[in-house]
């Protein structure tokens, strides 16, 4: 069970009509590393085709996957699903060389949405937000911190942040919210 400081409990952190920032409930997360030959068998076990284009996503039920690198994927799932995924992928141990690492305790997810969400992200994100298409995700940098940014809609974003960096990232986002609200 992940223990998080009380100020990092899931819930709405800032809300205005055009911008909302909230911390999402904890989820199961895995890093999956394998060579290209392993994508088909691993996809069969997980219930979706592993995308091979960097940034591309797939989902099946509550499970989601994004391709982070040529041999690296991030799998997100419900907490109860963690054991199922672990056992499923373990059946490949003899046939598909791979590494599956449970990262659930490492990261939190912040949701940023609203008509000014993209503007808020530009505060710490050197990249052009329009280069991340809706329905894709990227590992990138946010104010010096490695994050995975998911674009769920035109103005709906999710940031996976390492727990130890979360106070820093949240501080910046909430300062940005106040700045934008002040006009």
């Amino acid at each position: 069970m992940t223990v998080v400081p009380h100020e990092l409990v899931a819930g709405v952190l800032s809300e205005t009509p055009d911008l909302s920032v909230s911390l999402m409930p904890l989820r199961g997360r895995f890093s999956l590393r394998l060579m290209p030959e392993g994508t088909d068998p691993a996809g069969e076990v997980l219930g979706f085709r592993l995308p091979t284009r960097i940034g591309a996503r797939q989902a099946a039920g509550s499970r989601e996957v994004v391709c982070l690198g040529p041999d690296e994927w991030l799998v997100v799932c419900d907490d109860a699903d963690r054991a199922v995924i672990e056992q499923g992928v373990a059946t490949l141990a003899a046939s598909v060389p791979h590494a599956l690492v449970d990262l659930s305790d490492r990261e939190l997810t912040v949701m940023v949405s609203g008509s000014r969400a993209t503007e808020l992200l530009t505060l710490g994100w050197p990249r052009d937000p329009q280069s991340v298409a809706v329905g894709t995700a990227r590992r990138t940098v946010f104010d010096g911190v490695t994050v995975v940014i998911w674009r769920d809609g035109e103005t709906q974003w999710r940031l996976d942040v390492w727990r130890s960096f979360a106070p820093h990232v949240l501080d910046l986002l909430l300062t940005g919210c106040r700045e934008l609200a002040a006009g």
Binding site: L68, G69, E72, P126, R139, T140, V141
Partner: protein, 100 residues
């Protein structure tokens, strides 16, 4: 800010996602114990440090995580090309010809 094309992501991205990782195409001697002290010193420390096109390694740290190679002009800071690790050195004459 420099914009760098990652040959794995196939996207042109801000420098802040990348880190520099020294000169490229420096092969470690197969059998270090058979190498003379001078040759080992050269492998460890001696670099070309050119004024002009430089073959160098970069890593897409805040991204796909891959190391790749680049040719960057050390005078203008212009990237002439980037290519995947393990691919042969591109022909410099072609690159600098294109740059003009």
């Amino acid at each position: 800010m420099l914009l760098i094309t990652c040959p794995y992501c196939q996207e042109t991205l801000p420098e802040a996602e990348f880190v520099y990782a020294g000169e490229a195409h420096i092969a470690r001697p197969e059998d270090p114990s058979q190498v003379s002290d001078e040759a080992w010193r050269d492998f460890l420390f001696i670099r070309t440090n050119p004024k002009g096109p430089h073959f160098e390694r970069w890593r897409h740290l805040h991204g796909c995580g891959r190391f790749f190679n680049a040719v960057r002009d050390t005078v203008s800071d212009r990237f002439l090309t980037t290519y995947k690790a393990g691919e042969p050195k591109p022909d410099l004459a072609t690159l600098t010809g294109e740059a003009k």
